[in-house]
């Protein structure tokens, strides 16, 4: 496939990037690692006039972490850098588990955390060449007026296919966003709109600058389980992230469960937090939460596996993750957090 034509602007500061993005509005697109944007450009899913290459902005790089402000990852931090960060397993095991599952090592060397959190939603009917799409008259999301997943509906169901977002939801991450009006910070959960066509809450001229994780959610045990056809490279067909804190008596002190690739947004299973807190392990309780997870999941025919199978795997993964975290010392938050 070939690339469409565009101009490339390479700002050297966040202020400059914001100015360029604000000036060009919907005509501009941000590129960092390129692993998501470039194939989509080649498929003509986007037609930006200006590509804003932010890789030269030093301020967007690097990980800092201390016990006062918690973890801050610049948007350009690569997934490899996070996977290899020496404290990830000790402080935020769910994040390590999730980033290690993204695509393969070469994609992780290029792909950034900012990019992974702003990933384009995916659908079998959308992520295809222009020729392929046009033979069907396009779809709701692109060049058409019919959704092939839910014909008759006016909503796009393209799925959220990033792995790091559900993990970061389970540790209550926040996003730092720069825009023409200055900087703002929002909970990651408010960033996602659960709309396949309009997936994230970024206004004109806005740029994700960093991800913050509060100290209060450090040392939770955690794991991310991912369904895919191959054990490498593939996007998730379903994903379950679980983070929990268990005290010395085996009582759950905090727990979050979040899902990927079964909705247009990464989604917290809201019932999990309240129903698990203060409880001891029981098989019935775990099954109940697994059931809540499949009530949150709305898998449709957007992906290379059936909705029924993906829903079953959400239930299985949730149950196994909770069993594993509750009954073993994996994630080893125990010793430090007490």
């Amino acid at each position: 496939m070939t690339m469409p034509g565009f101009r490339v602007i390479r700002p050297s500061s966040v202020d400059e990037a914001v100015r360029v993005l604000a000036d060009n509005g919907p005509e501009a697109m941000v590129i960092a690692g390129g692993t998501d944007v470039v194939p989509n450009l080649q498929m003509r899913l986007f037609a930006p006039r200006v590509l804003v290459d932010i890789k030269g902005i030093g301020e967007l790089r690097g990980i800092t972490c201390n016990d006062r402000v918690g973890l801050r990852m610049g948007a350009l931090t690569t997934l490899t850098e996070i996977a290899e960060w020496k404290f990830v397993e000790r402080c935020f095991p769910v994040l390590g588990s999730a980033v290690r599952s993204v695509a393969g090592p070469l994609q992780r060397n290029m792909g950034t955390i900012g990019g992974n959190l702003c990933l384009e939603t995916r659908c079998l009917w959308y992520n295809q060449s222009e020729f392929w799409r046009q033979s069907l008259g396009g779809c709701l999301k692109k060049q058409g007026d019919v959704c092939h997943v839910a014909p008759g509906g006016q909503r796009c169901w393209a799925v959220w296919s990033g792995d790091s977002a559900p993990a970061l939801l389970t540790v209550e991450a926040e996003l730092e966003i720069a825009g023409p009006g200055g900087r703002r910070r929002i909970p990651l959960a408010e960033f996602y709109r659960n709309d396949g066509m309009n997936r994230i809450a970024l206004g004109r001229g806005e740029l994700v600058v960093a991800v913050h994780v509060p100290v209060s959610s450090a040392f939770r045990r955690g794991v991310y389980r991912k369904l895919r056809v191959r054990d490498s490279i593939d996007y998730p067909l379903a994903g379950v992230a679980v983070a929990m804190k268990v005290d010395g008596q085996g009582i759950c002190r905090a727990a979050r469960v979040a899902l990927a690739a079964v909705n247009p947004a990464p989604q917290l299973v809201h019932a999990a937090a309240e129903r698990l807190e203060g409880k001891r392990y029981s098989a019935e309780l775990v099954e109940e939460i697994a059931h809540e997870a499949i009530r949150t999941a709305k898998p449709l025919t957007t992906s290379a596996s059936t909705p029924v199978y993906r829903r079953d795997m959400v239930r299985l993964f949730t149950r196994r993750a909770l069993e594993e975290l509750w009954q073993t010392r994996r994630g080893n938050g125990e010793k430090r957090a007490g």
């Binding site: 690339m3 034509g5 490339v8 690692g33 194939p39 290459d53 090592p105 994609q107 290029m110």
Partner: protein, 167 residues
């Protein structure tokens, strides 16, 4: 589209090139510099045939805009051999049948080279993990993994000898 004048450092040599801003690094290497070792396989960052080293880190040149890597040291498979002598990784792939049709081989060589620079004594699991982004349709991977482990051993022996000589 107006071309842009860029500077690229490839295999130790700096080139000044006038290229379209939407040109991918893989195409600049193949078309403008004649370095056709790096291959276009999948065209969407999922096969690893286009792997080159960017500042020592293996990356996919089919999703990299050439203009973005002007300050980087780029190494392609053509830059692996030094002074007419093959890299130990290349030799091992030859001796252990790590290449059949050869299309994916440059990508495997680059990823392997980077792995062994970082870890000259990898376990089989570490090799499998490091090569998980590279796809081969011929070998079934077994010979590739054997080649990588053989290359690792060769590199360790070579280093041991160098240390012995310098003592």
């Amino acid at each position: 589209m107006t071309k842009e004048l860029i500077r690229l450092k490839v295999n130790g040599e700096t080139h000044e090139l006038a290229i379209a801003p939407n040109k991918l690094l893989l195409d600049v290497l193949r078309e403008d510099l004649g370095l056709t070792g790096s291959k276009r396989g999948c065209d969407d960052s999922s096969c690893g045939c286009c792997t080159v080293l960017i500042d020592g880190m293996p990356m996919l040149s089919c999703v990299a805009l050439a203009t973005s890597y002007q300050d980087a040291e780029i190494t392609t498979v053509e830059g692996l051999a030094r002074d007419g002598e093959l890299d130990p990784v290349q030799e091992a792939f030859m001796s252990w049948g790590g290449a059949q049709c050869g299309f994916c081989t440059p990508g495997f060589l680059m990823t392997t080279h980077a792995l062994l620079e970082k870890n000259p004594d990898p376990t089989l699991d570490q090799v499998r993990e490091a090569l998980a982004s590279n796809i081969c349709r011929c070998t079934g991977y077994t010979q590739i993994y054997e080649s990588v482990l053989a290359a690792a051993q060769k590199i360790r022996e070579k280093r041991k000898n160098e240390i012995a000589i310098s003592k």
